[in-house]
């Protein structure tokens, strides 16, 4: 037997005259649906008479003290983090000063500084080298390979990934639970 569709379940959310008549006809012939319909009407009637329940009278006061405690706790956490960060910075600073003082006479500091300066001065030329290498290799690859490679990359990585993400989002929207 054909039962009423979900969208117009006993015309609860409103339905057309035709749908209403269809439903009435169906209820006359289907015992199961008639019983369910009558049972639901009883439940609905019961629900309509139930009032909105209020919390205990001291609820607002208790919320206020709860919120104050939470604010205090978040302030404490913030100060704790500030303390930890300041402590770490001071420790690192003291450690660096101690290392500098300890190795001041040795060549280690001088070598370290020299390495740093060399790295910084070579940075532009290193960048030019990288750019040159990249341009060279890009020119080595035939032009028609680029869209082919792009297509391969897209089909093998991005397309399955995006399809999967889309399917998951769609399932979540439909109300599917996490496995």
């Amino acid at each position: 037997m054909k039962h009423p569709p979900i969208e117009t379940w006993f015309c609860e959310m409103g339905c057309s005259e035709v749908q209403f008549q269809d439903m009435q006809r169906h209820l006359e012939t289907c015992t199961h649906c008639r019983k369910t319909y009558l049972a639901w009407q009883e439940v609905e009637e019961e629900i309509k008479h139930l009032p909105l329940l209020a919390p205990s009278p001291t609820f607002v006061n208790r919320w206020e003290s709860y919120a104050q405690a939470q604010v205090q706790r978040s302030h404490q956490t913030l100060w704790k983090w500030v303390g930890v960060m300041v402590g770490l910075t001071l420790t690192m600073l003291v450690g660096c000063i101690a290392l500098l003082v300890f190795f001041w006479d040795s060549n280690l500091v001088a070598e370290g500084i020299a390495h740093l300066i060399r790295f910084l001065t070579r940075l532009p030329s290193t960048w030019l080298q990288i750019r040159y290498a990249a341009t060279f290799w890009l020119h080595e690859i035939p032009l028609y390979w680029l869209p082919a490679m792009g297509f391969l990359l897209y089909t093998w990585i991005i397309l399955p990934l995006s399809t999967w993400c889309y399917a998951m989002a769609k399932l979540a929207l439909q109300g599917a639970k996490n496995p």
Binding site: I6, E7, W9, E12, M13, K35, T36, Y37, A39, W40, E42, V43, E44, E46, I47, K48, H49, L50, P51, L52, L53, A54, P55, S56, F59, V60, R62, W63, E64, Y66, A67, Q68, Q70, V71, L173, Q174, G175
Partner: protein, 196 residues
């Protein structure tokens, strides 16, 4: 339902706990009712309502003024309760003691009060046998008279998902009600049977 809070109060309330308390006082009943209907336990419901208001206080600067404030609050409460239900997965059975405390004593007739209590308990027992999401849509529809679109926005699901959940919830409630009625009838007839 409760009137929308004005923007001046909302602005002030986002920085001050005491100012936010005015909002708590105005909206405590609908929020608590939703939590209670979802969780079935008064103490847990109060905790959930408290947490809902705290989360709302923290996120007040993100509240979109074009939406209804109550809908926004109920959305936080519903999500929180669904999370709590997922964590525990154990039904709560007895609410008798607390119901005696909280139900308004406006009715002078103790018999009527008792009947109301019994009805409320029966419906609550049926509600507790539904899945959290089904329960949420049913409560929002019948206690807060929300449309499918509002429910879909609140619960971050599609309207077709709301429809199917509502349908499942109604059907389950009707079947459980039938089952409960037949149990009561058989109990009563057993008591009335003459002892030979």
């Amino acid at each position: 339902m409760v009137a929308e809070p004005d923007s001046a109060l909302l602005k002030h309330a986002s920085q001050d706990v005491e100012a936010f308390s005015q909002i708590v006082a105005a909206y405590q009943t609908p929020v608590f009712n939703l939590c209670y209907r979802m969780l079935g336990d008064p103490q847990e419901a109060e905790d959930a309502a408290q947490e809902t208001f705290w989360r709302a206080f923290q996120a007040l600067h993100r509240y979109d003024h074009s939406r209804s404030f109550l809908t926004w609050l109920l959305s936080i409460a519903a999500h929180y309760c669904i999370d709590q239900l997922r964590k525990r997965r154990t039904p709560v059975e007895s609410i008798q003691e607390w119901m005696d405390e909280i139900l308004p004593g406006s009715s002078p007739n103790p018999e009527t009060q008792y009947t109301q209590l019994e009805e409320s308990q029966r419906i609550q027992q049926l509600l507790m046998r539904l899945e959290p999401h089904e329960r949420a849509v049913l409560i929002l529809r019948y206690w807060y008279e929300m449309s499918e679109l509002e429910m879909a926005e609140m619960l971050s699901i599609s309207t077709s998902a709301v429809k199917s959940r509502l349908h499942r919830a109604r059907q389950k409630m009707a079947l459980l009600w039938k089952e409960q009625q037949s149990r009561y009838t058989s109990k009563e007839s057993a008591h009335e049977a003459p002892a030979y």
